[in-house]
């Protein structure tokens, strides 16, 4: 989607490091995350629960819980202000009030996982969509209503005029998620963060919602960040993929690089663990063990304990991000020039070959 020569960076997260104080001790949840988002692009963050993917985005929204401490890092956000000049701010340094009044919802909006809990059950959906317009755009009621009806139609809700006066409980799950998207779009944001937008929905509705977000993205030139653990969703929507594990990004690349030439053993594991419709092996590959507890800082590579390809050095030192192509990076010692040559598991290799062949048919 990036057709311009130099895509303009809109969100730039550098060296983000966050820890949480808990009764059991300090949990070091984010350990140096870098992430870029350019205008009009879609970036996906993939990882297991507890890998820190939601926390990263919550930091950008200023929604961190009160027991969180940002130890280091910056989240640079570039936007054009009302006067038309370009501005870059560090979202972590802004006072909470400014963030709430000028950025959240207005420039950076979020779609949450469960549409039942993110909508107010006591307000009609029309009111909820207009709320952002009153607060951020200071629209009058008539203009707001017209815009709200427009948005309802945009997100594919038939009979918008009638639905406008409905309460959330009167709608089905898929419709509710559409309303949540309409609410998020109400103040014309630049960036849309979707936190597991379809996990609570059925497959058929999931496909519809994803196609809807893609269509709106094109129409409104939005930049979208998806947080998900579903690689199928990622393949459908993303331009760039960040694979996250134990508070670190372990592999970054464009979507074809991640799906056709994955380099990190964790990515291999994730791809193998998800059966595609042609999988008929006797056993499904599974990543052994469970994610590390970040209460105790892992020594060396956090994935080493679950990694069948782990080298001795993995237990001693953390691997840096090795660059493979201009866009593809992976943090694994296997890419070090001195490392033994280790290939991905043969089953996965066969499957990726199959996937590539299938893809060639479309090219």
């Amino acid at each position: 989607m990036s057709n311009t020569a130099a895509p303009e960076k809109i969100l730039d997260i550098r060296g983000l490091d966050i820890s949480f104080r808990t009764n059991a001790g300090t949990v070091h949840a984010i350990r140096g995350v870098n992430l870029d988002l350019c205008r009009g692009e879609t970036v996906a963050i993939v990882g297991e629960s507890g890998s820190g993917k939601s926390v990263t985005m919550k930091a950008a929204m200023g929604l961190l819980d009160s027991n969180a401490t940002v130890n280091a890092g910056e989240i640079l956000y570039t936007y054009t202000d009302e006067a038309g000049t370009k501005q870059t701010v560090d979202l972590l340094k802004l006072p909470k009030k400014t963030l709430r009044q000028q950025f959240n919802g207005q420039r950076i909006a979020m779609v949450f996982q469960d549409p039942m809990t993110s909508l107010d059950p006591t307000m009609t959906i029309g009111k909820q969509i207009m709320e952002g317009m009153f607060l951020h755009k200071h629209m009058d009621k008539q203009a707001a209503k017209a815009r709200a009806l427009e948005l309802l139609e945009l997100v594919g809700i038939p009979d918008a005029e009638k639905r406008f006066r409905n309460y959330p409980h009167q709608l089905s799950g898929g419709m509710r998620q559409r309303v949540v998207i309409a609410v998020a779009l109400s103040a014309d944001p630049d960036v849309l963060i979707c936190d597991e937008p379809t996990t609570a929905l059925d497959v058929t509705i999931q496909a519809k919602i994803l196609e809807l977000i893609m269509k709106i993205q094109k129409e409104m030139k939005l930049s979208v960040i998806y947080i998900t653990h579903d690689l199928g969703v990622v393949a459908k929507v993303a331009d760039y993929v960040n694979v996250m594990y134990a508070g670190k990004i372990v592999e970054v690349g464009n979507v074809n690089e991640i799906f056709y030439e994955p380099l990190h053993p964790y990515t291999w594991g994730l791809l193998s663990a998800m059966p595609d419709l042609d999988t008929d092996d006797d056993r499904l590959y599974s990543i052994p063990g469970s994610p590390p507890n970040l209460l105790h800082e892992p020594k060396g590579d956090a994935f080493a304990a679950r990694n069948q390809f782990a080298l001795v050095i993995d237990e001693k030192a953390e691997p840096p991000l090795f660059q493979v192509t201009p866009t593809h990076f992976a943090a694994t010692w296997l890419l070090h020039p001195d490392a033994p040559k280790i290939e991905m598991p043969p089953e996965l290799k066969a499957r990726l070959e199959r996937a590539k062949k299938e893809a060639d048919k479309y090219l």
């Binding site: 497959v203 496909a207 653990h229 579903d230 199928g232 459908k236 994730l270 419709l277 499904l284």
Partner: protein, 305 residues
């Protein structure tokens, strides 16, 4: 083929909400499960798949229809022998392992409860032995027996749920969305475990899920449910290679493939019951081939195939 282990005939399950309104959750569903096989039930939320599982194990009293399990009718009033047999031979694994394990009981007592009720342990030592053997079988260590559910991770908790279901050595296990609450990498572990156990003990599974790729992976035969009707059923090859019903087609087209080039160009087939003009109540079962059946009227069947 041998005798079916479970035979469900024309099962109906209605829930009266008020005097004028009744939710018809399951509308005349029939299927059979043979010993040692895995039957997958798929469908969107509200299609009645969980209700069927719960009716079969008699957590609900079926409104109409017949359920024959292990050669005995388990609908209507059951004698104590039939009840004993049902409670021992059929077990269930629930969706959310945190909600289905008693937080105030130790794992040993959660797993051992069935043994206590049915008097299957001859002594304390025997009970402890059976429990630790079961824990080993599901990939936990015997020391875990003294812990409480909250001290486990999600995947481990689901293993406890599986151990509880399997300690009675059941012939049929109903797995109701038992992997959907787990992470992708953990899902594969649990599915492998279920397959291993099936090989070892020869139990049958009724696998209820909405994740079609996982259902295809684990099941031998599949039934597709929509709005309380079984719209299509057959072996997994029949369903996946030749889907006939438009709902099945839309369901299959909606599965995201982990293949970006293909996925970006593909559009899902949409299916809307209200506007499709199909009335499930008028449909009858049509045989496509082998065991592949589809619910349709004669005209619909002719136009779909």
């Amino acid at each position: 083929m041998s005798e079916p282990l479970l035979k469900v005939e024309n099962l109906k399950q209605y829930f009266p909400v008020s005097r004028t309104f009744t939710v018809k959750a399951v509308n005349g569903v029939s299927f059979e499960i043979y010993p040692g096989e895995t039957y997958g039930l798929v469908g969107e939320s509200g299609s009645g798949k969980t209700t069927i599982g719960r009716s079969v194990i008699r957590l609900y009293n079926p409104t109409d229809g017949k359920i024959i399990f292990n050669g005995q009718d388990i609908t209507g009033r059951m004698g104590s022998a039939a009840r004993q047999m049902l409670r021992k031979e059929m077990q269930m694994i629930f969706q959310d392992p945190m909600a289905s394990l008693n937080p105030r009981k130790k794992v040993a007592d959660i797993i051992g409860e069935g043994l206590d009720i049915h008097g299957r342990a001859s002594s304390r030592q025997d009970r402890a032995d059976q429990i630790s053997e079961m824990l080993k079988k599901v990939g936990l260590s015997p020391e875990h027996a003294a812990r409480y559910p909250h001290q486990f991770s999600g995947g481990q908790r689901q293993r406890v749920g599986i151990a509880r279901a399997l300690i009675m050595n059941p012939r049929l296990v109903i797995a109701d969305e038992c992997i959907s609450a787990l992470d992708v990498s953990i899902q594969a572990q649990v599915v492998n475990l279920m397959k291993d156990i099936q090989e070892e003990t020869g139990c049958a599974y009724l696998f209820i899920a909405h994740d079609l790729s996982m259902v295809k992976y684990i099941s031998d035969r599949i039934g597709v449910l929509h709005l309380g009707y079984m719209v299509e059923s057959g072996t997994k090859e029949e369903i996946f290679s030749n889907p006939v019903h438009p709902y099945t087609r839309s369901l299959l087209s909606a599965i995201p493939h982990p293949n970006p080039e293909v996925e970006k160009r593909r559009r899902s087939v949409s299916y809307d019951y209200a506007s499709s003009g199909i009335d499930y109540a008028r449909g009858t079962e049509h045989l496509v081939s082998g065991t592949h059946k589809v619910l349709a009227t004669d005209d619909e069947f002719a136009s779909w195939t």
